[in-house]
Symmetry: C2
Subunit: 295 residues, 2 copies
């Protein structure tokens, strides 16, 4: 167990090093935008998505550096989505991970542009990697990321989340929101890791399924923590879903059902890792580690 935690820390450290390289240092007339991009990119994110991508890459025996620009690109997309999601016109959050949100520090206009810039930079970073490696797998990987981030994925989920506030929401709509807003990107992380690592189609499929179960479990767990955690532990105001009039798994199905559902998804996720034998052990540990989190 100690070794896995150390491996996780190592992965996070490597990703932070690459992120620091891919997001330029502030310079020139527009230097404030680099500050804003870096502020949210280095505000204590857990690097869950890039770590998952890297772990899937290793689970299929991937080698080489191609994984890092893609892992960082996905983290940039995640960060841009948080910056825009926190805006007054969206979730209107003042704090994230215990720090002021981007627009509270830089103002709304620059927060919109910092998000735009991170989304664009994610693609620039992937394109440069594709050009230097001349790899069609990398083009396929970029396609997976682009689709999962767009209207048929993350943005679609954010839209339905936004328009559903203070409205009656049934379990189908909530499922759509969770599946798209959070799960799509997590699923893409696993699939892209498997593609770039040149996994077999069976391996790619298994990791994609694992990603689905983990992503949904992670999101339902978020709903649970929003109710049972404390502001100190969570680093942001608790009961924000209730405050924003948002339906959650807990509000629709109750706390016990939600906890049970997370357990079921975790079992399904574990099942998908069986074919990887010892190479899947880190992902297996990570999945359990994430499900036992209290923040």
């Amino acid at each position: 167990m100690m070794n896995f935690k150390k491996e996780l820390d190592n992965k996070v450290e490597i990703i932070n090093k690459y992120l620091d390289e891919f997001i330029p240092q502030p310079h020139g007339y527009a230097e404030v935008i680099y500050d804003a991009m870096r502020y949210s990119s280095f505000a204590g994110g857990k690097r869950l998505r890039p770590v998952l991508m890297l772990s899937a890459f290793e689970a299929v025996g991937g080698v080489g550096e191609i994984i890092y620009p893609f892992a960082c690109a996905l983290e940039m997309i995640h960060t841009y989505s948080l910056i825009h999601d926190d805006l007054p016109a969206m979730d209107n959050d003042d704090y994230r991970r215990g720090k002021l949100t981007n627009h509270k520090v830089y103002g709304e206009g620059l927060a919109v542009l910092a998000g735009d810039a991170l989304l664009n930079l994610a693609f620039e970073t992937m394109i440069h990697a594709i050009k230097s490696q001349k790899s069609w797998e990398a083009v396929e990987a970029m396609d997976v990321i682009a689709s999962s981030a767009g209207i048929k994925g993350m943005i679609g989920g954010q839209v339905v989340d936004l328009i559903s506030e203070h409205k009656p929401v049934d379990i189908d709509i909530l499922h759509y929101i969770h599946k798209n807003k959070t799960t799509a990107i997590i699923q893409a992380a696993l699939k892209v890791g498997a593609i770039l690592g040149k996994g077999s189609s069976t391996e790619i499929k298994a990791l994609e399924e694992f990603g689905y179960c983990l992503g949904m479990a992670f999101q339902v767990q978020d709903d649970i923590l929003d109710v049972i955690s404390t502001q100190e532990e969570l680093g942001k105001p608790i009961k924000s879903d209730e405050k924003n009039g948002k339906a959650t798994f807990v509000s629709l199905k109750g706390l016990e059902y939600s906890k049970e559902y997370v357990k079921q998804l975790s079992r399904d996720a574990a099942h998908q890792l069986e074919i990887f034998k010892e190479k899947g052990q880190f992902l297996s540990w990570l999945s359990e580690y994430l499900m036992s989190r209290t923040y």
Copy 2:
């Protein structure tokens, strides 16, 4: 002359047809986002950037369909930038091209997401084209578009534009804003057309230079029209630059100097087209047509 105008109308029509195909019809739980994306995409845009790309493609003798997804992707990027630029936290404009701006119709939250969705869809559209054609020129073309749209291009220009409001701005900063906020994308349109049309490096360079002159001329012309046009002609409030405390070429260098500068840039642009002989005639006409506009 009549033929050129007809050719322009034909190009605009073809681009509109492809755009209509690439931006999905509203459907599903998130259907409002498709409405919002389509609202601004079909709000009377002149299609200047895709028309320029198509014309550069033809000037170097390009053949095939690959140009259309790229032309539409650039238009999507242009449209997303307008939606975000019009937001209250940015230029705070209620009207564009005589119609209500996106956030006035759909609200700020959805306007942010509609912009995000169009930027993402631009990349999805290019990636699908690259995958179906397996063309490395197309990867290069996507790189040019991504760079011109990012922090070293359009977004950088928007940032400096935003932070310079109500502040003393010298001609160097204004030049940076114009070069990046508007010109970078116009220049990319020409360069990408030349790359996808498999032009020689001399042809690509000439069209890139042409794009620079045209883009700068177009932006300075915008500054001029903001002062001398009427709201009816322009389709948006005039003197918005003055209202927003924005320095312009006209405010820094005067109206006469600005008009002379546009003429000089137009001459420089024309000069770059000489190597294309009769194949450059449409671009030559288009350049003059744009410089004589009053709206």
